[in-house]
């Protein structure tokens, strides 16, 4: 597990992904498959452990059917 430079923005992203994934009744594995990522990697993102890249954020947003910026917004 990588834990380099955790920050509050990781937590915002993690919370938004978990919330949107639950609303769509997708498992971590189903979302990971749809986005072309590994399930354990997505799990790490949802626990704020991963310093995710912009390209992978774009893939997750597309698979969740939202605009990428919505994943970073802390309502």
């Amino acid at each position: 597990m990588k834990k380099t430079h955790p920050g509050p923005l990781r937590d915002v992203l993690a919370k938004n992904i978990r919330k949107l994934r639950a609303a769509r009744e997708l498992s971590q594995e189903a979302l990971a498959d749809a986005a072309g990522l590994h399930r354990t990697y997505l799990g790490g993102v949802e626990r704020s452990e991963r310093n995710i890249s912009i390209d992978n954020m774009a893939r997750i947003a597309k698979s969740l059917g939202v605009e990428p910026w919505e994943l970073l917004k802390d309502k």
Copy 2:
């Protein structure tokens, strides 16, 4: 130069950073210094060449005085 997986979201980010940096009359070097990044790295981000991480996006947003999600919003 890394050119892995370029995507439209990189272009949105690049455009927003360039626009906000210009509005604040900051050079690439000044913004890079403020964000704790290297000038050539920031240049790569502004040319959509870099697959920037969420932690570095948070640093740039803070140095520009905007919310991170604003960097990903098209328009």
